[in-house]
Structures are given as structure tokens and as C-alpha cells.
């Protein structure tokens, strides 16, 4: 068991290094990029579990992100009011998102516990939605899942933007006396949910990145992962060797939704606000293109593509108008010319290994 935890501890150490050493070194803009690249890595890798490993076609990923984000935001915001009486920061130095050097407390604070719970809750709610959406649609042909997930993404947005106005600091008593069920509906509606105490830092994001990568790679290099890949290759043959296709597909989908929810939670608790209007089809598409660019089924590919496509818009800011046009063309051309993206279904280490030996293919 301790051996299984080693990669996680390593991930934690790397996250600490990124937070304490790299972040101050690259300044505000750079560290923001690093942080959002991390969130995008979680989104892209989780999507590749469904679209890549299992060969399904889910295009509503941002919907799960939104659900997770709102859940975490509500928990953090209203939870803070209920516990502390205000929506201020109550965490430790590792969660401090303000001015560098402006915090002089311990590494971890009591608010951090709430933060971790909020992230987990975001993941769980998104996973539950994934189960509800996936169970009826994964039984059917690939195209149907695409439509259902697209529809789900839009519906989630519509519902979240239809909620009632947020309760403010001035309404402290109302917040204190309201039940969780009532508060669930007060998420800001079309104006979005704002004023959330921010806790997400490079450290926390990369802890979750480590978890995501470990889970994805362990999944892939196991009999469970092989089963998913076999479903992608040939569903009928997979059934013939005893695979319950629907169950595997649903589980992959739920897992993927969980991490999308966590990514959403990290996202909303970084900026301090969230608006479902920004998490619609366009966002789902941006995640999809990361997965396709990296190679459907490649964990390192998805991660690399996520980093590239987080940095690129910043670099090309002056042609932002044409960004989506370029992405769409890129997608079409890639499908015709190089559908396997950067790494195909292999990982970056498989490709390096292949150059040394002359044997075709490897076992992933």
C-alpha cells in the first residue's frame, strides 16, 4: 500500500515546488498561466478517459465543470457565512491567493478543510450528474451520446442561469436561517455567482493534477483500462470476451465527470466567481480540441495539448477574434490529415521507446 502512495507524495512535492519556488519566480501573469494550465490538464485528461480510452463521444464536459464549480462555490460562500459569519479568507499560506507576502499565518487554516470538502463535493455532484446522463445514453450508439451530452451542457447552463439572486453579506441572518435546499437555488442566475472567497492556488491545482495523472495512467495500464480500450476498438468483440460494455462506459463517464467537477471547483474558487454562460458549448469544444490534438487516448498527449492551448491564446492575444476559427479549422484539417493528433493512443514514453527499438507498437 505505501508503494501505491509514492507517486502521490511525489506529486505533492512537485506541487509544493511549483507553488513556493516557480510561482514567485515567474510573476503574476506567468503563475496564472501555470494555474490555468493545470486546470485544463485535469479537464483534458478526464475527457480523454471517455473520448480517448473508451472511444465515446462526449461533448458536454463544460457542463460538469459548471456543476462542480457552482457546487463548490455555494458550499464555500454560504458555508463560510454559516461557520464564520462572513465570506472572508480563512485558509493557510498554501491557499493564499492575494498579494505575495500579504499573508502571515500558518500553512494550513481551518478554511482549507472547507475548501477541500467543497472541491470533493463539486466532483461528487458532477459525478452524480454523469451517472444520470450516462446511464441511458451510453447504452446506445456513439452519436446519441454526443447529442445528449451537448444537450446536457446547454441544459445545465440554462438551469444554473435560471437560479435566484445570490444572498449578500447584508443578508447574513437570512443565510444563517436558510436551509441548504433553499440556498441551492440562490446561485446568482444570469449574473453569475460572485464574491466567493478564493482558495485555489498553484499548489492545490497541481495536487489535483497529480491525482488525475496517477489515476489516468494507472487506469490505462491495467486490465480495467484494457477493457475500456477494447470497447473503443470493437464493442462486439469486447462483449464476446465477457465485457459488460455499458457498465464500463458508465463508470468511465462518471469518473471523468468527477474530475471535471473538481476542475470546475478549482476554477470557481480561484477567480472567486463563476458564470455558467461562460461554460457552454464553446468551452466544451476547447477541451475537446485539447484531447483531439494530444491524441485520443493519450494521457501525456492531452496534458501537453492542454498546456499548449492554454499558453497559445495568450501569445496570440492580438488575433483573439480569429482564435475559434483557427481552432475549428485545425480540428477539421487534423481529422483529415493527422487524426491521431500528437501521440495517438500512446504515451510520450512509448514513442521514445519506439525510437530506440525498431519493433512496431508497444503495449500501453
Amino acid at each position: 500500500m505505501p508503494r501505491a502512495l509514492a507517486p502521490l507524495l511525489l506529486g505533492g512535492v512537485i506541487a509544493l515546488i511549483l507553488h513556493l519556488v516557480v510561482q514567485p519566480a515567474v510573476g503574476g501573469f506567468g503563475s496564472n498561466l501555470i494555474l490555468f494550465a493545470g486546470i485544463n490538464i485535469i479537464l483534458a485528461v478526464s475527457l480523454t478517459v471517455v473520448n480517448g480510452f473508451t472511444g465515446q463521444f462526449s461533448i458536454g464536459h463544460a457542463g460538469f465543470m459548471a456543476l462542480g464549480g457552482y457546487t463548490a462555490a455555494a458550499l464555500m460562500y454560504y458555508g463560510s457565512f454559516k461557520i464564520y459569519g462572513n465570506a472572508n479568507f480563512h485558509g493557510g499560506a498554501l491557499s493564499w491567493t492575494g498579494r505575495v507576502g500579504g499573508f502571515s499565518g500558518p500553512w494550513m487554516g481551518s478554511g482549507d478543510l472547507l475548501f477541500v470538502i467543497a472541491c470533493l463535493a463539486g466532483g461528487i455532484v458532477a459525478a452524480a450528474a454523469g451517472w444520470i446522463v450516462g446511464l441511458p445514453s451510453l447504452r446506445l450508439r456513439g452519436d446519441y451520446l454526443a447529442i445528449v451530452t451537448l444537450g446536457f451542457g446547454e441544459i445545465a447552463r440554462v438551469i444554473l442561469q435560471g437560479t435566484d439572486a445570490q444572498l449578500r453579506r447584508s443578508q447574513l441572518d437570512a443565510i444563517r436561517s436558510a436551509s441548504p435546499l433553499q440556498l441551492m437555488n440562490k446561485l446568482g442566475g444570469a449574473l453569475g455567482f460572485i464574491g466567493i472567497p478564493p482558495y485555489t492556488t498553484v499548489f492545490w491545482v497541481y495536487v489535483w493534477v497529480a491525482i488525475m495523472l496517477i489515476v489516468a495512467i494507472r487506469l490505462k495500464r491495467s486490465s480495467y483500462g484494457r477493457a475500456l480500450l477494447s470497447i473503443r476498438e470493437d464493442e462486439i468483440a469486447a462483449q464476446a470476451v465477457g465485457i459488460n460494455n455499458t457498465r464500463y462506459k458508465v463508470r468511465a463517464f462518471v469518473l471523468s465527470s468527477f474530475f471535471a467537477g473538481v476542475a470546475g471547483a478549482l476554477y470557481s474558487l480561484q477567480i472567486g466567481s463563476i458564470n455558467a454562460g461562460e461554460l457552454g458549448f464553446q468551452r466544451s469544444f476547447e477541451i475537446l480540441i485539447m484531447v483531439v490534438l494530444g491524441g485520443l487516448g493519450s494521457v501525456t498527449g492531452a496534458a501537453l495539448a492542454a498546456i499548449i492551448l492554454t499558453a497559445l491564446p495568450e501569445v496570440l492575444r492580438f488575433v483573439d477574434q480569429y482564435r475559434m476559427i483557427v481552432y475549428s479549422l485545425l480540428l477539421i484539417v487534423m481529422m483529415i490529415v493527422r487524426p491521431q493528433g500528437l501521440f495517438g493512443v500512446r504515451e510520450v514514453w512509448d514513442l521514445m521507446r519506439r525510437r530506440r527499438r525498431q519493433v512496431t507498437g508497444g503495449d500501453a
Partner: protein, 309 residues
């Protein structure tokens, strides 16, 4: 009672629009077993092209007089031709090269096309990022009133045009040689080719036909609703999705199913809005999708196809 009649008429009117769009989805799905994600964007294009052409003809929303009726027809035909050309180009460039590729690839390409259309349409040199108002092509007259429900000329024309087009497609597919060729291709490409049918040409034709129907639906939508949001606004995506749900509910690949599905979806949406809550108009339609997928995935008029092992 007034509410019932009003809801019924609204539902059928919009349902007819959904049916027109759904026909495009179902025609393409029938011959290629592929959901053309970009279809709803052709519908959007149709609406905006109608606006652009009407504006080019010197018509404007603020003009008091309504123009002669044949100008409206000209706008419709021009929009249909324009979208037909776009549909042809899309099929040739983005889908045909992927004919032999795994299904997932062409679906992804379709998504790319969809977003391409949306974002190009939004450019300042194209239709622009702001909503615009469609000039009125018909006088705003109330034809008759039943139980307090007004039936306007616009609604009558929209419904009549939609019905005419649906009857036209029905005739084309079931009573002409070309239609028979399309149906043959939808069963089996190789056999159709062996019978001397130019499969590629039929496929192109199907796309063109579907795009023209979408253009007509766009034109009718613009006439009925006048306010056009910019091409990347999600209102179009939702419309297209609902039309797709209509195609699925009716039985994807089935022409009559598409029409039936369109009307059904229109009614469900408007009855839900009228009698339940208007905040969740889109949720009703999607709930229906989930139910249909759970209970009868082949749709009302569809038949389940079994994959050959």
C-alpha cells in the same frame, strides 16, 4: 380555452420549423448514418442570409410599407440557393475525405465545421457580432380571430410554406427516381452503386437538399421572430438541438418521423411553457429525449437496426 388554442397554434407553428430542420438531419442520417452537427448552423446561416439579402434589396426594418410579395419569395429562394452551395462545399471538403475513416473522426470534423460557421458568421466582415432586426416582408395583418386568439398573416404564411416544403420532400423522396436512388443509397451504398447509382452525387444532393430546407426554416424563423441574435449565440445551438431531438423522437432516418417529431417537440415545448414554467422551456424537450432514448431509442416511427456481426 384561449390559452389552449394559442398554445396549440404556437406549438404547431414552431413545430413545423423544427420539422423542416429535422428533415435535413434525418435525410443525411439516412444515407450516411451520421449526425451532421453543422446542420443547425446552416439554419442560422439561412436566417442571416435572408436578412442580408433583404437588406441588399433595400428593404429595412424601419420602413413603413411592406414590399411586394414576390420580393419575399426572391429572398427565400436566394437564401436556399446560398445555403445549398454552402452545404455542398461542406460535404465536399470536410466530410467526403473522411468517408472511410472511423465514425468518431467525421463527427469531430462536423463539430469543427459547426464552430467554424458560427465564428465566421460573427466576424465584423460577415454578419457582425450584434443582433439585427429582420425587415418585415409581409404586412402585419391579423387574418382572423378565434376565441380571442389572433391568427396573423405571418403565421399563416410560415405554416403554409413549411407544409408545402414538407409535402414537396415527401413527393421527391417517395415518388421520383431521384428519391428512389436516395432511398437505395440509404440501405446500402455498394448495392446502390452496382445498380448504376452515382452514390457520391446522391450524397451531395442530399446535403444540398437538407441545407436548402434548413435555409427555408431560417428564412421562416426570421420572418416570424424578426430579432436575429449573432451567429455564435447559443439560441441557435439550442434550436438546432431541439430539431435534432425532433428527428430522434420521430425516428431518425425516417422522413415522416422527422415531421411527426417536429410537431411533437413544438407542442411539448409550448405546452410546457404555458402550463408549467417558462424558465425551463428547453428542459422539457431534453427530458423527452432522455425518456425516448430509455424507452424506445428507435423513435416513434423508426425501426431498430441490428449491426451485422
Amino acid at each position: 380555452m384561449t390559452l389552449l388554442i394559442q398554445t396549440l397554434t404556437d406549438g404547431i407553428a414552431v413545430g413545423a420549423l423544427y420539422a423542416l430542420i429535422a428533415l435535413g438531419y434525418t435525410l443525411v442520417y439516412g444515407i450516411l448514418q451520421f449526425i451532421n452537427f453543422a446542420h443547425s448552423d446552416v439554419f442560422t446561416l439561412g436566417a442571416w442570409l435572408s436578412f442580408a439579402i433583404a437588406a441588399a434589396l433595400g428593404l429595412s426594418a424601419s420602413a413603413g410599407q411592406s414590399p411586394p410579395w414576390y420580393l419575399g419569395l426572391a429572398v427565400l429562394l436566394a437564401a436556399m440557393v446560398g445555403c445549398g452551395i454552402v452545404g455542398f462545399i461542406i460535404e465536399r471538403l470536410a466530410y467526403r475525405p473522411l468517408r472511410q475513416a472511423p465514425r468518431l473522426n467525421v463527427l469531430i470534423s462536423a463539430i469543427g465545421v459547426s464552430l467554424l460557421l458560427q465564428n465566421i458568421g460573427q466576424l465584423p466582415h460577415a454578419f457582425g457580432p450584434y443582433p439585427r432586426a429582420m425587415p418585415a416582408l409581409l404586412p402585419d395583418r391579423v387574418i382572423f380571430t378565434i376565441v380571442g386568439v389572433q391568427f396573423r398573416l405571418v403565421d399563416m404564411v410560415v405554416l403554409a410554406t413549411a407544409l408545402f416544403l414538407m409535402v414537396g420532400i415527401q413527393w421527391l423522396v417517395f415518388h421520383t427516381k431521384v428519391g428512389t436512388a436516395m432511398r437505395a443509397v440509404s440501405f446500402n451504398h455498394q448495392t446502390a452503386a452496382l445498380m448504376g447509382i452515382n452514390v457520391s452525387a446522391i450524397i451531395s444532393m442530399t446535403f444540398v437538399l437538407g441545407s436548402m430546407l434548413a435555409a427555408a426554416a431560417g428564412f421562416l424563423y426570421a420572418m416570424k421572430y424578426a430579432q436575429l441574435k449573432q451567429t455564435a449565440d447559443s439560441v441557435w445551438v439550442l434550436l438546432g438541438l431541439k430539431a435534432f431531438v425532433a428527428a430522434v423522437v420521430g425516428g431518425i432516418g425516417n422522413i415522416r418521423g422527422a415531421m411527426l417529431g417536429g410537431i411533437t417537440i413544438g407542442l411539448i415545448e409550448f405546452f410546457g411553457v404555458a402550463y408549467l414554467s417558462d424558465k425551463y422551456r428547453d428542459v422539457y424537450v431534453f427530458s423527452l429525449l432522455i425518456i425516448v432514448l430509455l424507452v424506445r431509442p428507435s423513435g416513434i416511427l423508426g425501426n431498430a437496426t441490428v449491426e451485422k456481426v
